[in-house]
Amino acid sequence: MDTALLNSILKKVEKPSRYTGGELNMREKPLVREDGFRLNRFALCFPDVYEIGMSHLGSRIIYNVLNERRDTYCERSYAPWFDMEKALRENSLPIYSLETKTPLGSFDIIGFSLLYEMCYTNILTMLELAGVPLRSRERGEECPLVIAGGPCVCNPEPVADIMDALVFGDGEEVMNEFMDVYTECRVKKLPKKELLRRLSHIKGVYVPAFYSAEYDEKGDFAKLSKTDPEAPDKIERRIVRDLDKAVYTGDLVVPYMSIVHDRVALEIFRGCTRGCRFCQAGFIYRPVREREMETVIKQTDESLSCTGYDEISLFSLSSGDYSHIHELVPVILDRYEKDRVSVSLPSLRIDSFLKDDLEKIQKVRKTGLTFAPEAGTQRLRDVINKGVTEEDLLRSVHDAFVSGWHGVKLYFMIGLPTETDEDVLGIAELARKVSREFYSMPKELRGKGLRCTVSASTFVPKPFTPFQWEPQISTQEVLRRQALLRNALKGVRGVEFSCHFSETSRLEAAFARGDRRLSEVLISAYENGARLDSWDEHFNKPAWEAAFEANGLTVEQFANRRIGIGAPLAWEHMDAVVSQKYLQLEHERAYEGTVTRDCRKGCNGCFGSRCSEFCGKGAGNE
């Protein structure tokens, strides 16, 4: 790497510390071990900019898991911002790793974290800047192995032609098995085809090249057949049984620049028991696995002392549900009060009884409060199994107002299955009640002015949810419902409305449920100039429209299609362990408006016959 040239570029680009590395706790290793073994070089790539990627807990765990291995050195790389991409191209410099400034093209493995669909073009930017061909079949023996992991792998088909292999589920264990096989094949100098064959025999590893897809006369996905008889029929999601004993982030890399989640994030449990029917994370991270309180405290100690952070987030999909939350919060606050460490609890549910905890948290520092009722009426909240009531919300905001908060955010979705205008107007009604709750309090008890933000996003149907068969509503209809809501919210004191239906919600829906043909659409869109698509202001609509058209496909056929129950699903070779039968049952219950209980209160049978194997809570609780 020409460092003088790189420095002259870094002087000109925005936020250069995105590209410099050298942070505290960055892992450094000799590239060759004492016994002469050259380490596997693994480039852990996040297909978005540094401040987003460094905020992702999962890849920070994988970074530690891989670097704990004696045979592997894992380095990081992030997607360049527009100015940096341009500068790299103009100066013919390759994209490189932050640790050793090694060009990505000379790594053994390039591994991407797939967190959301709208980051896919950034994968292509990074591959191209690495000089690596975009399609798996175009890459020869000399090319790095290109792999991916993360939640989007539950429907890997839209990136199937790009990836050599994908890993499905929790990475803590499967990545070790993956690297064991990799090392063995590398030492034996086996060809890539044989490496892929052996990798595909690891539970949870998917090699798309061993399967081919067919489509019916209407142009819908018909089936996926194996082209390699030894490839598995189903790719089973990997599940770490004992989170308490699992490797965590270890010494966290501390960025210089401020990142999106600039704090210690400590995962108190994985999975969620609530079963909201729109929520993919709620299904693909089952079952719930908690960390012991002692482990949480120990890891908090370690993380704070090796980073110097003054904030810790007790992180999970629904932190108020942690079995020991009322013990944990005061223990952590007391322990660090003199060090002025503040605690935040993300993803709090409205029905968690946390008034006392909130008051204690506020003693150190005040953080924002966000509630997510998701839908405006009880009917629709029952359809989506949100399980919270208007009373829950009003009680929660009341508690927050009494404790001195005067800013709250309320999150809703527009376009949920069965939604009517009445449900949309219900959002405004709820906001009005929140406003009334605030202003009916005596002045001396509440803050000065209410700042209540009502935010409405557009529903995106996702695989492995009971709504996977549902269409997204049309663009026109989204805009009409938004206008309806905006009107209804006019004049509600202290309430602000924020919504954006962007084209990206449509594309997200198409890619979430898309099939293999979207790989070529993706490559066309990239070649047409699509970049960093999740950044709305940079979204390149013409590039995408032309890409779909060039491939004879439409966004609508993926985003707005109702898939028949029992019809082929592009992701049915992926086995998320939650059974398709259970999802069907939940789909029926949604339409009946029947609520399914929180599975902490008793097993609902989502794993079917495999309950005892993966969860084991079932029988005893019934």
């Binding site: 420095n7 002259s8 002087k11 050298g22 505290l24 110097g308």
Partner: protein
């Protein structure tokens, strides 16, 4: 007590912005379990202040900050406590016990020196640079300065105390600059170099290091 710290900002952290340098120190102090005093109010923050910012990309041999401590300690103990927690590229060169003084470091700043390693688009002799410097310093040096009210012509000549070429060979040259640096502003050495080489008709890229900030000790008492 109040401790002043002279620290370096070397190559590995040269692109870290001023705001991020502030956080870097706060975190290092926390890791070192330094007994920092905190501000009062709703969002208490540690009482750490910096004399001045350094341009992103520039390195420095001596930047200043001060920190209020709730316990007394010697400068030696301070350095021993904090140094192991600093990232690569940041080193404490000196610590000074400021006692009870509450005058800001910024108000005591007077001048700063810089060293620039310059790469030029054509070979230039030392004589040619020396002559250009002589010419430059004999008159006003008016630059177009961006201010809140728009672009304003400003004479920076009074802020230039010294400008000399140490050596020049082939396409490379080394220069030393000493200029004003006070609470109300200071000389930007890279702007000065831009004017110099612009008038010589040479394109240049500079790697600039701040070698010293001059503080008036008396102004701190």
């Amino acid at each position: 007590m109040r401790m002043a710290v002279v620290f370096t900002k070397e190559a590995p952290v040269r692109f870290v912005s001023h705001l991020d340098v502030q956080r870097l120190f706060q975190r290092a102090f926390r890791r070192a379990k330094l007994p920092m005093a905190y501000s009062q109010g709703f969002n208490p923050h540690p009482l750490v202040s910096f004399a001045t910012a350094l341009s992103v990309g520039m390195t420095s041999r001596g930047e200043y900050l001060d920190v209020i401590l709730t316990e007394d300690m010697t400068p030696e103990d301070f350095i021993a406590l904090v140094s192991p927690h600093l990232p690569e590229g940041v080193r404490i060169a000196e610590a000074l016990d400021l006692g009870v003084s509450n005058k800001s470091l910024t108000s005591a700043m007077r001048a700063a020196s810089y060293e620039a390693r310059v790469k030029l688009s054509r070979p230039v002799s030392k004589d040619e640079i020396d002559n250009a410097i002589k010419e430059l310093l004999s008159n006003e040096i008016v630059i177009q300065k961006k201010t809140k009210g728009g672009i304003k012509p400003t004479d920076i000549r009074p802020m230039v105390f010294e400008l000399k070429c140490i050596c020049a060979e082939g396409n490379e040259a080394r220069l030393e600059i000493r200029g004003a640096l006070t609470a109300s502003g200071g000389l930007n050495p890279e702007v000065l170099l831009g004017v110099l080489f612009g008038r010589m008709g040479v394109d240049h890229t500079a790697e600039t290091e701040r070698t010293e900030i001059e503080l008036e000790r008396a102004a701190l008492n």
